[in-house]
Protein backbone atom coordinates (compact mmCIF):
# COMPACT_ATOMS: atom_id res chain seq x y z
CA UNK A 1 0.00 0.00 0.00
CA UNK A 2 1.92 2.98 -1.19
CA UNK A 3 0.57 6.50 -1.40
CA UNK A 4 1.58 6.74 -5.03
CA UNK A 5 -0.82 3.95 -5.90
CA UNK A 6 -3.87 4.81 -7.97
CA UNK A 7 -6.91 3.88 -5.91
CA UNK A 8 -9.83 5.20 -7.92
CA UNK A 9 -10.93 7.02 -11.06
CA UNK A 10 -10.34 10.71 -11.29
CA UNK A 11 -7.54 12.69 -9.71
CA UNK A 12 -5.93 10.75 -6.82
CA UNK A 13 -4.83 12.64 -3.74
CA UNK A 14 -1.83 10.34 -3.36
CA UNK A 15 0.97 11.58 -1.14
CA UNK A 16 -0.54 15.06 -0.67
CA UNK A 17 -3.03 13.64 1.86
CA UNK A 18 -2.32 9.97 2.53
CA UNK A 19 -4.99 9.52 5.19
CA UNK A 20 -7.82 10.78 2.99
CA UNK A 21 -6.32 8.92 0.03
CA UNK A 22 -6.75 5.66 1.99
CA UNK A 23 -10.45 6.39 2.60
CA UNK A 24 -11.10 7.71 -0.89
CA UNK A 25 -10.58 4.33 -2.57
CA UNK A 26 -13.86 2.67 -1.61
CA UNK A 27 -15.83 5.93 -1.30
CA UNK A 28 -15.07 6.96 -4.86
CA UNK A 29 -15.40 3.45 -6.32
CA UNK A 30 -18.98 3.25 -5.03
CA UNK A 31 -19.83 6.48 -6.78
CA UNK A 32 -18.15 5.21 -9.96
CA UNK A 33 -20.44 2.15 -9.90
CA UNK A 34 -23.43 4.52 -9.72
CA UNK A 35 -22.10 6.52 -12.67
CA UNK A 36 -21.73 3.39 -14.77
CA UNK A 37 -25.34 2.43 -14.04
CA UNK A 38 -26.32 5.97 -15.00
CA UNK A 39 -24.44 5.42 -18.26
CA UNK A 40 -26.64 2.38 -18.92
CA UNK A 41 -29.74 4.52 -18.37
CA UNK A 42 -28.49 7.05 -20.93
CA UNK A 43 -27.56 4.25 -23.36
CA UNK A 44 -31.14 2.98 -23.38
CA UNK A 45 -32.52 6.47 -23.97
CA UNK A 46 -30.10 6.66 -26.92
CA UNK A 47 -31.41 3.33 -28.22
CA UNK A 48 -35.00 4.61 -27.90
CA UNK A 49 -34.02 7.78 -29.75
CA UNK A 50 -32.42 5.72 -32.52
CA UNK A 51 -35.57 3.62 -32.93
CA UNK A 52 -37.89 6.66 -32.87
CA UNK A 53 -35.77 8.78 -35.22
CA UNK A 54 -37.94 8.19 -38.27
CA UNK A 55 -41.24 8.46 -36.36
CA UNK A 56 -41.82 12.13 -37.19
CA UNK A 57 -45.48 11.74 -38.30
CA UNK A 58 -45.06 14.51 -40.87
CA UNK A 59 -44.03 16.95 -38.13
CA UNK A 60 -40.68 18.58 -37.34
CA UNK A 61 -37.60 16.57 -38.32
CA UNK A 62 -34.06 16.63 -36.86
CA UNK A 63 -32.81 18.54 -39.92
CA UNK A 64 -35.43 21.26 -39.47
CA UNK A 65 -35.01 21.65 -35.69
CA UNK A 66 -31.27 21.39 -34.92
CA UNK A 67 -28.89 24.27 -35.44
CA UNK A 68 -25.17 23.66 -35.60
CA UNK A 69 -23.92 26.89 -34.00
CA UNK A 70 -25.80 26.65 -30.65
CA UNK A 71 -24.85 22.95 -30.42
CA UNK A 72 -21.20 23.88 -31.00
CA UNK A 73 -21.26 26.68 -28.41
CA UNK A 74 -22.92 24.40 -25.84
CA UNK A 75 -20.23 21.79 -26.50
CA UNK A 76 -17.49 24.38 -26.02
CA UNK A 77 -19.03 25.60 -22.74
CA UNK A 78 -19.31 22.10 -21.30
CA UNK A 79 -15.87 21.02 -22.51
CA UNK A 80 -14.22 24.12 -21.05
CA UNK A 81 -16.07 23.58 -17.78
CA UNK A 82 -14.59 20.08 -17.62
CA UNK A 83 -11.11 21.59 -17.95
CA UNK A 84 -11.76 24.27 -15.32
CA UNK A 85 -13.09 21.60 -12.95
CA UNK A 86 -9.82 19.74 -13.52
CA UNK A 87 -7.97 22.90 -12.47
CA UNK A 88 -10.17 23.08 -9.35
CA UNK A 89 -9.27 19.47 -8.45
CA UNK A 90 -5.56 20.21 -8.90
CA UNK A 91 -5.89 23.34 -6.72
CA UNK A 92 -7.65 21.27 -4.03
CA UNK A 93 -5.11 18.44 -4.16
CA UNK A 94 -2.07 20.66 -3.83
CA UNK A 95 -3.45 22.91 -1.12
CA UNK A 96 -3.58 26.06 -3.24
CA UNK A 97 -5.07 29.16 -1.58
CA UNK A 98 -8.77 28.57 -0.93
CA UNK A 99 -9.91 31.43 -3.15
CA UNK A 100 -8.18 29.72 -6.09
CA UNK A 101 -10.26 26.56 -5.55
CA UNK A 102 -13.45 28.60 -5.09
CA UNK A 103 -12.54 30.64 -8.16
CA UNK A 104 -12.17 27.60 -10.44
CA UNK A 105 -15.41 26.13 -9.06
CA UNK A 106 -17.15 29.45 -9.75
CA UNK A 107 -15.87 29.49 -13.37
CA UNK A 108 -17.13 25.91 -13.79
CA UNK A 109 -20.49 26.92 -12.35
CA UNK A 110 -20.78 29.90 -14.71
CA UNK A 111 -19.96 27.70 -17.73
CA UNK A 112 -22.49 25.10 -16.58
CA UNK A 113 -25.13 27.81 -16.22
CA UNK A 114 -24.24 29.18 -19.67
CA UNK A 115 -24.68 25.68 -21.10
CA UNK A 116 -28.08 25.33 -19.44
CA UNK A 117 -29.15 28.78 -20.60
CA UNK A 118 -28.27 28.02 -24.24
CA UNK A 119 -29.96 24.62 -24.04
CA UNK A 120 -33.17 26.08 -22.61
CA UNK A 121 -33.12 28.72 -25.34
CA UNK A 122 -32.85 25.90 -27.93
CA UNK A 123 -35.80 24.07 -26.39
CA UNK A 124 -37.85 27.28 -26.31
CA UNK A 125 -37.13 27.82 -30.03
CA UNK A 126 -38.17 24.24 -30.75
CA UNK A 127 -41.40 24.67 -28.79
CA UNK A 128 -42.03 27.85 -30.77
CA UNK A 129 -41.70 25.83 -34.00
CA UNK A 130 -44.34 23.41 -32.77
CA UNK A 131 -41.72 20.80 -31.82
CA UNK A 132 -43.00 19.77 -28.41
CA UNK A 133 -42.73 16.30 -26.80
CA UNK A 134 -46.27 15.12 -27.59
CA UNK A 135 -46.00 16.01 -31.30
CA UNK A 136 -44.33 12.74 -32.42
CA UNK A 137 -42.43 9.69 -31.23
CA UNK A 138 -39.21 11.30 -32.42
CA UNK A 139 -39.79 14.42 -30.31
CA UNK A 140 -40.85 12.39 -27.25
CA UNK A 141 -37.61 10.45 -27.35
CA UNK A 142 -35.58 13.63 -28.00
CA UNK A 143 -37.14 15.37 -25.00
CA UNK A 144 -36.58 12.27 -22.86
CA UNK A 145 -32.88 12.08 -23.72
CA UNK A 146 -31.43 15.59 -24.04
CA UNK A 147 -33.22 17.30 -21.11
CA UNK A 148 -32.29 14.30 -18.94
CA UNK A 149 -28.66 15.27 -19.50
CA UNK A 150 -29.58 18.92 -18.88
CA UNK A 151 -31.20 17.89 -15.59
CA UNK A 152 -27.96 16.14 -14.60
CA UNK A 153 -26.01 19.33 -15.38
CA UNK A 154 -28.53 21.33 -13.34
CA UNK A 155 -28.09 19.10 -10.28
CA UNK A 156 -24.33 19.09 -10.86
CA UNK A 157 -24.42 22.90 -10.73
CA UNK A 158 -26.34 22.83 -7.45
CA UNK A 159 -23.78 20.34 -6.16
CA UNK A 160 -20.98 22.78 -7.12
CA UNK A 161 -22.69 25.52 -5.07
CA UNK A 162 -23.05 23.09 -2.13
CA UNK A 163 -19.34 22.23 -2.37
CA UNK A 164 -18.36 25.92 -2.43
CA UNK A 165 -20.38 26.42 0.76
CA UNK A 166 -18.84 23.30 2.34
CA UNK A 167 -15.31 24.45 1.48
CA UNK A 168 -16.01 27.85 3.02
CA UNK A 169 -17.67 26.56 6.20
CA UNK A 170 -15.84 23.28 6.94
CA UNK A 171 -12.53 23.91 5.17
CA UNK A 172 -10.81 21.13 3.29
CA UNK A 173 -11.28 18.15 5.62
CA UNK A 174 -11.37 14.55 4.42
CA UNK A 175 -15.13 14.52 3.82
CA UNK A 176 -15.11 17.69 1.74
CA UNK A 177 -12.14 16.47 -0.30
CA UNK A 178 -13.81 13.15 -1.10
CA UNK A 179 -17.02 14.99 -2.02
CA UNK A 180 -15.09 17.16 -4.47
CA UNK A 181 -13.49 14.03 -5.97
CA UNK A 182 -16.95 12.53 -6.49
CA UNK A 183 -18.32 15.75 -7.97
CA UNK A 184 -15.34 15.75 -10.35
CA UNK A 185 -16.23 12.27 -11.61
CA UNK A 186 -19.86 13.35 -12.04
CA UNK A 187 -18.94 16.48 -13.98
CA UNK A 188 -16.45 14.75 -16.31
CA UNK A 189 -18.93 11.91 -16.82
CA UNK A 190 -21.61 14.40 -17.95
CA UNK A 191 -19.19 15.78 -20.51
CA UNK A 192 -18.68 12.25 -21.89
CA UNK A 193 -22.45 11.76 -22.18
CA UNK A 194 -22.62 15.10 -24.01
CA UNK A 195 -20.07 13.81 -26.58
CA UNK A 196 -22.55 11.04 -27.39
CA UNK A 197 -25.42 13.57 -27.55
CA UNK A 198 -23.77 16.09 -29.85
CA UNK A 199 -22.49 13.30 -32.14
CA UNK A 200 -25.40 10.86 -32.25
CA UNK A 201 -28.23 13.40 -31.88
CA UNK A 202 -27.26 16.86 -33.16
CA UNK A 203 -24.58 16.12 -35.77
CA UNK A 204 -26.29 12.92 -36.93
CA UNK A 205 -29.49 14.90 -37.51
CA UNK A 206 -27.67 17.66 -39.38
CA UNK A 207 -25.79 15.47 -41.87
CA UNK A 208 -26.98 16.24 -45.38
Amino acid sequence: MSAGEIKHTGLNLGSTDELTHEQAGSAVFGFWVFLMSDALLFALFFATYGVMLTATVGGPTPASEYKILPAFLETLALLTSSFTFGMASVAMKHGAPRRQLIGWLAVTLVLGAAFLGMELHDFATMFGDGAYPTRSGYLSSFFALVPLHGLHVFFGSIWIIVMMVQVMTFGLDARVKINILRLGLFWHFLDIVWIAIFSAVYLQGLIR
Binding site: L40, A43, V51, S199, I207
Partner: protein
Protein backbone atom coordinates in the same frame (compact mmCIF):
# COMPACT_ATOMS: atom_id res chain seq x y z
CA UNK B 1 10.90 10.96 -6.20
CA UNK B 2 9.99 14.22 -7.84
CA UNK B 3 8.92 17.19 -5.79
CA UNK B 4 5.23 17.95 -5.18
CA UNK B 5 5.34 20.89 -7.59
CA UNK B 6 6.48 18.60 -10.40
CA UNK B 7 3.42 16.43 -9.81
CA UNK B 8 1.20 19.49 -9.93
CA UNK B 9 2.75 20.73 -13.17
CA UNK B 10 2.35 17.27 -14.75
CA UNK B 11 -1.29 17.13 -13.72
CA UNK B 12 -2.06 20.55 -15.13
CA UNK B 13 -0.26 19.60 -18.34
CA UNK B 14 -2.30 16.37 -18.54
CA UNK B 15 -5.58 18.31 -18.23
CA UNK B 16 -4.37 20.83 -20.82
CA UNK B 17 -3.38 18.09 -23.29
CA UNK B 18 -6.78 16.45 -22.82
CA UNK B 19 -8.55 19.79 -23.33
CA UNK B 20 -6.53 20.52 -26.48
CA UNK B 21 -7.17 17.08 -27.99
CA UNK B 22 -10.88 17.27 -27.12
CA UNK B 23 -11.15 20.71 -28.78
CA UNK B 24 -9.48 19.44 -31.96
CA UNK B 25 -11.71 16.33 -32.10
CA UNK B 26 -14.89 18.34 -31.43
CA UNK B 27 -13.89 20.90 -34.06
CA UNK B 28 -13.17 18.14 -36.58
CA UNK B 29 -16.55 16.49 -35.98
CA UNK B 30 -18.51 19.75 -36.37
CA UNK B 31 -16.42 20.76 -39.42
CA UNK B 32 -17.11 17.43 -41.16
CA UNK B 33 -20.84 18.06 -40.82
CA UNK B 34 -20.79 21.81 -41.49
CA UNK B 35 -18.70 21.55 -44.68
CA UNK B 36 -19.84 18.20 -46.08
CA UNK B 37 -17.29 16.66 -48.41
CA UNK B 38 -18.29 12.99 -48.18
CA UNK B 39 -21.49 11.05 -48.75
CA UNK B 40 -23.72 11.02 -45.69
CA UNK B 41 -22.89 7.46 -44.53
CA UNK B 42 -19.16 8.24 -44.56
CA UNK B 43 -19.76 11.50 -42.68
CA UNK B 44 -21.79 9.66 -40.04
CA UNK B 45 -19.04 7.05 -39.66
CA UNK B 46 -16.41 9.80 -39.26
CA UNK B 47 -18.52 11.67 -36.66
CA UNK B 48 -19.14 8.52 -34.61
CA UNK B 49 -15.48 7.50 -34.90
CA UNK B 50 -14.33 10.92 -33.69
CA UNK B 51 -16.82 10.69 -30.78
CA UNK B 52 -15.36 7.35 -29.75
CA UNK B 53 -11.81 8.71 -29.83
CA UNK B 54 -12.89 11.78 -27.85
CA UNK B 55 -14.50 9.58 -25.19
CA UNK B 56 -11.22 7.69 -24.81
CA UNK B 57 -9.39 11.03 -24.52
CA UNK B 58 -11.78 12.15 -21.77
CA UNK B 59 -11.39 8.87 -19.89
CA UNK B 60 -7.62 9.06 -20.14
CA UNK B 61 -6.94 12.74 -19.39
CA UNK B 62 -9.94 13.89 -17.30
CA UNK B 63 -10.84 10.69 -15.43
CA UNK B 64 -7.25 9.42 -15.33
CA UNK B 65 -8.12 5.85 -16.29
CA UNK B 66 -4.84 4.10 -16.96
CA UNK B 67 -3.58 0.63 -17.70
CA UNK B 68 -1.65 0.63 -14.42
CA UNK B 69 -2.24 -2.50 -12.40
CA UNK B 70 -3.70 -0.81 -9.30
CA UNK B 71 -6.38 0.89 -11.40
CA UNK B 72 -7.60 -2.27 -13.13
CA UNK B 73 -10.89 -2.51 -11.17
CA UNK B 74 -12.09 0.78 -12.60
CA UNK B 75 -11.01 -0.16 -16.11
CA UNK B 76 -12.73 -3.54 -15.83
CA UNK B 77 -15.94 -1.90 -14.65
CA UNK B 78 -15.82 0.48 -17.62
CA UNK B 79 -15.21 -2.38 -20.06
CA UNK B 80 -18.02 -4.43 -18.49
CA UNK B 81 -20.41 -1.47 -18.72
CA UNK B 82 -19.33 -0.94 -22.33
CA UNK B 83 -20.16 -4.56 -23.18
CA UNK B 84 -23.60 -4.22 -21.57
CA UNK B 85 -24.23 -0.91 -23.36
CA UNK B 86 -23.23 -2.37 -26.74
CA UNK B 87 -25.40 -5.46 -26.21
CA UNK B 88 -28.47 -3.52 -25.10
CA UNK B 89 -28.24 -0.67 -27.60
CA UNK B 90 -27.37 -2.79 -30.65
CA UNK B 91 -29.89 -5.44 -29.61
CA UNK B 92 -32.66 -2.85 -29.32
CA UNK B 93 -31.81 -1.25 -32.66
CA UNK B 94 -31.46 -4.54 -34.57
CA UNK B 95 -34.69 -6.04 -33.24
CA UNK B 96 -36.83 -2.95 -33.67
CA UNK B 97 -35.49 -2.05 -37.13
CA UNK B 98 -36.09 -5.65 -38.18
CA UNK B 99 -39.62 -5.45 -36.79
CA UNK B 100 -40.27 -2.22 -38.68
CA UNK B 101 -38.95 -3.71 -41.93
CA UNK B 102 -41.28 -6.69 -41.51
CA UNK B 103 -44.30 -4.50 -40.82
CA UNK B 104 -43.77 -2.19 -43.79
Amino acid sequence: MSGPDDGKRDEIRSYAIGYGLALVLTGAAFATVHWPSFISTTTLAIVLGLALVQMVVHFRFFLHISLQKSARDDLQLILFSTVIVILMVSGTLIILFNLRARMM
